[in-house]
């Protein structure tokens, strides 16, 4: 088992003929992901890495088995592309695209929810269930199959956590990149709920950042409902107030979104906090 993606996942790549879409399609295929179709308007009939390209999601869905879409489309057309996938009946949308206007993201998120679709991202590295399926841009060799779930607000930090665990012989059930924007399709609490229900996940590592209140809400959820061990690592200690630290969502004003609030929330929920990336390993070993 795993969450969100597994051997039954059949992937559509929206924006497959773009520079990034084409390269990442190659990497995903190499990782064993079953990509059945791609979409770029006006490019029907061509192929990328042997994958057939269609003009629209509707046409791709009519001819191929598809249950998940991953998007590498430019930010200005992200909203329209997500709506197209949702209208074609797809229930898992993984939005890799960065720099989407926040008001667009709000509408994408609300529309996905109203149609019963799960949106991951935007600004996400994607989702990987090592050994089974990779829908995203993460370096495959850093991941190994196993029993630890990872949720991260950052791509690079998720690679570091997975890479360290794999080196130590600790595999991962699924890694989900939650995304670094102020609005995310699926939040920390919802992802913890999924890992809670997954029988193969024995512990979860969370990488949180300054900004927003997701970590605080997750801490409350862990205290009240989570039955599996959770280890947290937080970044942004030295960030000056009001500075956006690379991610649009990694910014705090006053106490709102501050490191102080998040540390306090996790301590109150008795969640072990790693002081540095290296400390995560010891805490995971202890939890297992």
């Amino acid at each position: 088992m795993s969450i969100l993606v597994d051997e039954k996942t059949r992937v559509l790549v929206q924006g497959i003929t773009g520079r990034m879409g084409a390269i990442q399609t190659m990497h995903m295929l190499k990782a064993g992901t079953k990509i059945t179709a791609g979409v770029t308007p006006g490019r029907a009939g061509s192929r990328v890495e042997g994958v057939p390209v269609y003009d629209s999601v509707e046409e791709a869905v009519a001819e191929q088995e598809i249950n998940t879409s991953v998007l590498f489309v430019p930010a200005p057309v992200a909203e329209a592309s997500c709506v197209e996938a949702i209208d074609a009946g797809l229930k898992l949308i993984i939005l890799i695209t960065e720099h989407i206007p926040t008001q667009d993201t709000m509408r994408i998120r609300a529309y996905a929810r109203s149609q019963g679709a799960v949106l991951i991202g935007p600004t996400t590295p994607g989702v990987i269930t090592p050994g089974k399926c990779k829908v995203g841009i993460m370096p495959t060799h850093l991941f190994a199959p196993g029993y630890v779930g990872i949720i991260s607000r950052s791509g690079t930090m998720s690679y570091e956590v997975a890479g360290m665990l794999s080196t130590e012989g600790i595999g991962q059930s699924t890694m989900v990149g939650m995304g670094g924007d102020p609005i995310v399709g699926t939040g920390l609490v919802e992802l913890l709920e999924l890992f809670q229900k997954d029988p193969e996940t024995k512990a979860v590592v969370i990488h949180g950042e300054i900004g927003g209140t997701q970590e605080e809400r997750a801490a409350a959820f862990i205290r009240e409902k989570m039955k599996k061990p959770v280890i947290a690592f937080l970044t942004g200690k030295v960030a000056p107030e009001g500075a956006r630290m690379g991610h649009a969502g990694a910014v705090y004003f006053g106490k709102m979104g501050s490191m102080e609030n998040k540390v306090k929330a996790f301590r109150e929920a008795s969640v072990p906090l790693a002081e540095s990336p290296g400390e995560i390993i010891g805490l995971v070993r202890k939890a297992l």
Binding site: Q24, E98, R113, P139, T167, T213, T235, A243, M245
Partner: protein, 340 residues
């Protein structure tokens, strides 16, 4: 203007500014002296370059209103109060003083919701209708200009029962600038740190810090973890995150950018090759080391696709390369080298 005036320094300092910053004048001479004083006095480290001078209204009531993104609800939240509350925690502690309405992301704030805010602030009759109209309009501005935040600071009700925006704020989403190319230059000019401004033109995110270890990272999460770790042993000079899609030229520009900070003792690179071709980036770094004859220690950790090629390029350029994953070990190595 021949009437008593209000003078308000305009700075990019949060939403509400500070009460003490506003001053009043009765004569043109007095106004000139005050404005001169304001221009000489930095606020939150910023030199004031703009002062809003307006007729001093006869204030009956003040309404502070903000529209912001509520991550938990996934949509815009409008809050209003008769007091300058500002800090969200303070607002949470006094829910009786704050009127809140969530706007629907598709239909926007509805007129009835604006009227509800006006009523719960204690307005009635004509005054409530006029206030609701102002609230509705500022929401239209927020939506029209793809804002992250917008608000009145404050909206005042004059003795005559009219409403006047005495101050306001609007932060347009940088990601929406493709819709408003007319603001690109303005947006750039509003970045006060010249190095951060240069970072924006190169297409990376730079935040100046007060230390002497230059930092380059290819992702925000690892970038933050890196500056946090460096601050355990010393002081980072900057946070810099390239985002996806680096090139040889971009990393050369980035390297030259961080080397501009005076007194730098070392440079630390933390790179992951997922979406980023780090072997291309490495060529840019080495090019600058050679061309600009960089002599301070450069330590790099590089992991991911094309890592062997990246290591080779960096080592040939004289960079100390760390090939293991935890950033902890790489930062420790950097400080060991600095002690020698």
């Amino acid at each position: 203007m021949g009437k008593p005036a209000t003078m308000k320094p305009q700075v990019l300092a949060g939403w509400w500014g500070k009460a003490g910053d506003i001053q009043f004048a009765n004569t043109p001479g007095e106004a000139a002296r005050i404005v001169e004083g304001i221009l000489k006095m930095p606020i939150d480290g910023q030199t004031v370059v703009e002062v809003l001078v307006e007729e001093r209204p006869t204030i009956q009531k003040e309404i502070y209103l903000a529209i912001r993104v509520d991550g938990a609800a996934g949509g815009p939240l409008v809050t209003a109060s008769l007091e300058r509350l500002g800090d969200i925690e303070v607002e949470a502690a006094h829910p009786e003083k704050v009127a809140c309405q969530h706007a629907d992301v598709f239909r926007g704030l509805q007129a009835y919701q604006a009227r509800k805010i006006a009523k719960s602030l204690g307005f009635s009759g004509d005054e409530a209708v006029k206030l609701a109209d102002q609230i509705y309009r500022i929401y239209q501005v927020y939506a029209r200009w793809d804002a992250l935040v917008a608000g009145f600071n404050p909206l005042v009700m004059t003795q005559g029962g009219n409403f006047l925006a005495a101050g306001g704020f609007l932060e347009i989403d940088d990601s929406a600038l493709f819709r408003f190319p007319q603001f690109r230059e303005l947006s750039l000019s509003r970045i006060l740190d010249p190095l951060a401004r240069e970072g924006r033109t190169i297409g990376v995110s730079y935040v100046g810090l007060d230390g002497d270890i230059g930092v380059i990272c290819t992702g925000a999460g690892v970038g933050m973890a890196t500056v946090d770790l460096i601050s355990k042993y010393g002081r980072p000079a900057n946070f810099l995150e390239t985002g996806g899609g680096i090139t040889e030229k971009q990393l050369a520009d980035v390297m030259r950018l961080i080397l501009k900070k005076p007194g730098l003792r070392a440079v630390f690179l933390n790179m992951y090759g997922g979406i980023n071709p780090i072997h291309e980036g490495a060529k840019g770094i080495v090019k600058v080391i050679r061309e600009d004859k960089v002599t301070i220690p450069i330590v790099a950790k590089a992991i991911g696709n094309f890592q062997e090629e990246t290591w080779k390029t960096l080592e040939e350029g004289g960079v100390t390369v760390i090939k293991t994953i935890p950033t902890d070990g790489a930062v420790e190595e950097l400080f060991k080298r600095l002690k020698k």
